[in-house]
Amino acid sequence: MKKLDDIPKKNIFKVPDGYFEELPAVIQARMAKEPKKSYFVPVVKYAVPVAAMLIAALIWFRPAASIESELDKIDSNQIALYLDNAYASDVDHEDESDWTTDELDALEQDVYSSMEYSVEEDILDDIDL
């Protein structure tokens, strides 16, 4: 009966001549070529789409409150007051039609000038100064 101890321990696996002399340079060349991997990148890579899907699912499956149940919560007097005000604001809009052309042109200029300003600001934000 042969025992394990009867077998001489020997390293039977040979390597090509000069293998261990060259290996450090081979490994360092690979290290230089392959950028250092961050362990956080895969987590972020998967976390963002998963979070987006969860948010979308929450919005999609959120039970919609019925209009009737929402209206039930509001006092009838408040609804009546709101409708009166809405009517009053419609009347105000009708009053705008009485504005002169000059007044409307001035209003339009004000709106355009504020738009040009904000566009310019956005462009400056995007340029490395």
């Binding site: 042969k2 077998i7 020997k10 696996f13 040979k14 390597v15 293998y19 360092q28 991997k37």
Partner: protein, 178 residues
């Protein structure tokens, strides 16, 4: 050079490259031999050894020194071996214990294996063991590591390792005497 000096060199950006080179020179042979015993083929062992040191380099800044550097590197090498063998099985749709015949054939045919009949028989007996048991046997029998060191590398208790090793020895002796 002490491991602490090696780590200081690696953590200093000015001496990092030199430090990494020293680390590879210090541990390359032990890592290669550990991997080669598991995968048998030189080209596979060469690839895996390179991969181990690339992973060591990527993770060394997070090495906390509460383990020995040597056992930490061995742990990475062990993981690489197990992953490689599992991928090989998946690639060929082999059952979990059926990678042995292919590796056994390599022991008979490879020109870079210098073994007499009884040593070849020992290697073939080892290939009949489950991967983790073969790892434990290799570290204890060939690398003369203590059970405590192997426990740190494999994250297993010393008691379980002793049982695994003695069971492995019995299986090997049974195979050799068949």
């Amino acid at each position: 050079m002490e491991d602490s000096d090696l780590l200081k060199k690696i953590r200093n950006p000015e001496t990092r490259s030199y430090g990494v080179n020293l680390l590879v020179r210090s541990y390359q042979e032990r890592v290669y031999r550990h991997v080669r015993k598991m995968v048998i083929d030189h080209d596979d062992a060469d690839d895996l050894t390179q991969e181990v040191f690339i992973k060591v380099n990527n993770a060394i800044d997070r090495f906390r020194e509460d383990a020995q550097l040597f056992t930490w590197i061995y742990r990475i090498a062990t993981n690489e071996c197990l992953n490689f063998l599992n991928k090989k099985r998946r690639r060929f749709f082999l059952p979990i214990d059926d990678i042995g015949p292919e590796l056994s054939a390599k022991i008979d045919s490879a020109a870079d294996i210098d073994a007499d009949e009884i040593q070849k028989k020992l290697q073939k007996a080892l290939l009949k063991l489950p991967d983790k048991q073969r790892l434990v046997f290799n570290m204890k029998y060939f690398d003369d590591m203590s059970y405590e060191q192997i426990a740190e590398i494999t994250n297993t208790s010393v008691g379980a390792l002793k049982a695994s090793y003695h069971h492995a020895v019995k299986k090997i002796e049974d195979f050799i005497n068949e």
